[in-house]
């Protein structure tokens, strides 16, 4: 199999996008003040988190809803919830 980027992989998945209702909020003031590991940047299997101009940004639309980021965040700076009912990833196979 040829190697695929994470973006290409997520493009295979089915999502019901809840536009205008992000289910992830990053409290960047906490990250900047306290966080050294920035685990969210590497632990997320869907590569949702990136750093832009010194701030952590969540591209929440691709989230596969595992909750790894929330568990890994050392400062509880991520407000990570499930998307509203009916929205988010839809596993056809699971």
């Amino acid at each position: 199999m040829k190697r695929m980027s994470i973006t290409e992989k997520l493009a295979v998945n089915k999502y019901e996008l809840d536009e205008g209702h992000p289910h992830i909020e990053v409290k960047n003031e906490i990250c900047a003040r306290l966080c050294k590991t920035k685990a969210c940047l590497f632990v997320c299997p869907a590569g949702v988190y990136s750093e832009q101009d010194g701030k952590i940004v969540a591209d929440w639309a691709g989230c596969v809803e595992c909750g790894t980021c929330r568990a890994a965040c050392p400062e509880q700076a991520l407000v990570w919830e499930y998307p509203r009912g009916g929205f988010g990833i839809i596993y056809r196979f699971g």
Binding site: M1, F42, V43, P45, G86, G88, R92, G94
Partner: protein, 429 residues
Amino acid sequence: MDEKVDVIIVGAGLAGCAAALQLAREGLEVVLVERGPYAGSKNLSGGVLYGRVLEQLIPEYWRMAPVERAITREVVTFLGEDTAFNMDFRNPRLAESHNAYSVLRGKFDRWLADQCEEAGVMLVTGIKVERVLVRDGKAVGILAGEDEMLADVVILADGANSFLAEQLGLRPRFDTAHLAVGVKELIGLPRETIEERFNLSGDEGAAYGLVGYATRGVAGGGFLYTNRESISIGVVMHLDEVIEHGIKPAEVIEDFLAHPCIEPLIRGGKLLEYGAHLVPEGGLAMLPKLSMAGLLVTGDAAGLSVNNGFVVRGMDLAIASGMLAAQTVLQAREKNDFGEEAMRHYNQRMEESFVLKDMRTYAGAPAFMKNPRLYHQYPQFLSRLMSGIYQHDGQPKAHLYTLALHSLKESGLSVLDVARDGWKGVRSL
């Protein structure tokens, strides 16, 4: 809106459906609330279901259910950098005993929820439960959006992240030392290709557990399960080590798929789905409070899992816990008492069943599985030893015993390590 039903179950996974089905059959009014658009749409497992327990609810379930393949071949692989050492156990008779099936939860759970509906369960999909309503220390219902719904008992089957159990203080926020992150790809391949590649006939299936290079030496392992026309493949890694070593799970699975001993197994396949799941791996050490007045906690929400290195289980424990929760509710109804003590019968039932007995039997397994030698030195040792045995370069060969000792040394192992780990393994697995 103040409706009241007998039981509200949060989450239409295996635990929730098992509880719902049993209760509805006894004539109770059951509402099963699922946040996804259909049951199974948020659920992901490896996944091999050791499903004998389900037969208590649905005899010969495999005849009707969308199971994939009957597992008749169990393989444990020690993966070196570019080598693989397999322990390959085949028993075609495992199919006759219906011991284990590969399943895809998006299909399987949906089918199980259909059985619930046929039995009279009211399945409500696309609804996220925000909170459990508590009055005077007793769970009395749920809040979803603006709507309140009341019940004698609420059963939490809301998965590994169970926000609800956390809100109620039944468990702390999980410790990363008790969690693993699982990443999975579903790769489509023609039926015949799968049967030829894995040496299977008909509906037989293979299940591989892989340690060593699969996870770049991090505690955890790889898995590969054959489905009818696809392969479930992925890695599960202990979250504390992932964080400590700054490892990207998304890259680890990509490297695993490209490993020279793995790539030929999935060659020509097409990615059908990519997903991830948080796995409660802490065993008994992470067991939450399983009950409170008016409420029971089941399945992944209760952190139920057994991993002894050979077999990774969660689904069967979830089903059993759902059934035990249902039995607890039925008993409580006889006296119309759903207080703390009545609900505590669930804990007792869990203790007496294989669920907590197995978790107790393997209580030492999570600690044993953290041994870094399992993931670095032993796979290296096996790779060196086997290469030494089979490689012939015109030089005189050493005695096997000498070769083994050399391979141990070269892999950074002492005979004492092996003896100690062997002893620990025997005791904890």
